[in-house]
């Protein structure tokens, strides 16, 4: 598998936490569900991109990360 550079790993962790806090993302802890997790996370990224009017790609691009790092309210953006 491609080695994920350190920074990207941190960004991925940050994004996961963000999507858990504000978009109801729940990660399957069981390692066997890794690909399912990635798809589920991609769906949640799409949901967040759509909410903020970003280009909906499902990918953790720079713009999406920048939006996640903006100071904000702690209440989720979608029902949970």
């Amino acid at each position: 598998f491609p080695v994920v550079p350190e920074e990207e790993k941190e960004d991925m962790q940050f994004a996961k936490k963000y999507l858990e806090n504000f978009y109801g993302f729940k990660e399957e802890k069981n390692a066997f569900f890794k690909s399912k997790n990635l798809n589920h996370m991609s769906d949640k990224i799409r949901e967040m991109q759509s909410f903020f009017g970003l280009e909906v790609t499902g990918k953790l691009n720079r713009k999406t990360l920048d939006m996640m790092k903006q100071p904000r309210c702690g209440i989720p953006d979608v029902r949970s």
Partner: protein
């Protein structure tokens, strides 16, 4: 806008709040003022009244804390999450928590967060509002530094809170005058809601319903102002914007506050000077200049700066001729010609509209130029004019641009 699941709300008009502690970043009096002002924002557009308690259990308990602070949502240090609040309910319901690891300020600075703005947002949650995805709305999840001196609640937020609580009681009796200013945390003077409501009597308002956007193909649809903007055409009425783009077939529906959060609704006129990438908006005796989303500094300015006499209290419509670089201003049955190059009114004006524009024998509500032709709007009719020959080409319905 959005609400929480099952739309929880306070089932009473009188809601209490208590400030449990203070941030050391600000004077206590400034914290109290910021909180009171934030409550006023919501009480001015609903029947709600907020009373401050100094002991015991209040509906909305306000506190500053950092990290873990007794609920399941610890704060995260400087930046990131600034605050959170709970929807209406007993116990922790309604409470608002502010992250003490942030730098709280009374004014809008780049070294801290404006407590009034964040509190107004969080109290929106305490009253039952969720987040809005309208850029510029107060309930938009991301903090946006802005001028709060004369802050007006954006229309999307008014729509949301009035969907839960309805408009202020007074507005149901359609007062003949604004009631006198009262003590903080009571209802505030009524200038805010009238500013935000569409200029004419909203066609759809009933006591329990907030005003709503008229239908695109309503045959009686009229406009306050119309302008082009970077190839698109924006139609304004009250706080609503219809956006027609050459790139999309659909008409986009927006609100003024979603483009320019600090501009009040109800423009009188608007026009674009394409060569300067500048649009000017007129309301009463003032005007603003914007470039895209940003309002140019130093505005609003008085319209007499353009050369109007003080007897002109407001203008009805304006349109810029991209070919001649002249801008026509319409007031009553007269019009002026303004030279954008010299930035001065032309001599020999005002002139009668009917003299120079055959077929236009009345007030002009709105006007814009498209493909070299002028379009004048009066009531629900639109007049297409060949400006070079000052000839009336045809008369259409005002909303002919909306694919009806």
């Amino acid at each position: 806008y959005s609400t929480f699941p099952q739309s929880p709300r306070w089932w009473k008009d009188d809601v209490t709040y208590r400030i449990l502690n203070y941030t050391p970043d600000m004077l206590q009096a400034d914290v109290e003022e910021a909180i009171a002002k934030a409550f006023q924002l919501w009480s001015s557009v609903t029947p709600l009244r907020f009373t401050r308690l100094y002991s015991g259990q209040a509906d909305i308990m306000i506190s500053f804390a950092s990290g873990f602070h007794g609920d399941f949502y610890p704060f995260d240090g400087p930046g990131g999450t600034l605050a959170h609040a709970y929807p209406p309910n007993t116990g922790i319901g309604g409470d608002a928590h502010f992250d003490e690891d942030e730098n709280w300020t009374k004014f809008t600075t780049y070294s801290g967060y404006n407590l009034f703005l964040v509190a107004a947002h969080e109290l929106g949650h305490s009253l039952g509002l969720g987040h809005s995805n309208v850029f510029g709305a107060l309930m938009y999840p991301i903090y946006m530094a802005r001028d709060t001196r004369d802050y007006r609640l954006p229309q999307d937020d008014i729509d949301g809170i009035q969907a839960l609580y309805g408009p202020p009681r007074e507005s149901l009796e359609l007062p003949t005058k604004a009631f006198p200013p009262q003590e903080p945390t009571e209802r505030t003077p009524a200038e805010a809601p009238t500013e935000m409501l569409p200029r004419e009597e909203p066609t759809e308002v009933t006591p329990s319903k907030a005003p709503r956007r008229p239908d695109d193909c309503d045959p009686h649809l009229t406009f306050d102002a119309i302008t082009t903007l970077r190839g698109e055409t924006l139609f304004f009425k009250g706080s609503y914007v219809w956006r027609k783009s050459p790139y999309f077939s659909e008409i986009e529906h927006d609100t003024i506050s979603s483009f320019w959060p600090s501009l009040a609704a109800g423009f009188d006129a608007a026009y674009e000077v394409d060569k300067k990438d500048r649009v000017l908006f007129f309301k009463d005796d003032q005007y603003w200049a914007v470039s895209g989303y940003s309002i140019e500094p130093g505005f609003p300015r008085p319209i007499r700066n353009l050369g109007f006499s003080t007897s002109v209290g407001k203008i009805d419509a304006a349109v810029h001729d991209q070919n001649t670089k002249k801008t026509y201003f319409f007031v009553g049955n007269k019009y002026w010609s303004f030279n954008e190059n010299t930035q001065s009114m032309e001599r020999g004006y005002p002139r009668k509209i009917a003299t120079d524009f055959q077929g236009i024998g009345h007030k002009v509500d709105a006007a814009f130029q498209k493909n070299g032709l002028f379009y004048f709007f009066h009531g629900s009719n639109q007049y297409e004019i060949d400006i070079k020959n000052k000839k009336l080409i045809r008369i259409m319905k005002s909303n002919s641009w909306f694919n009806c």
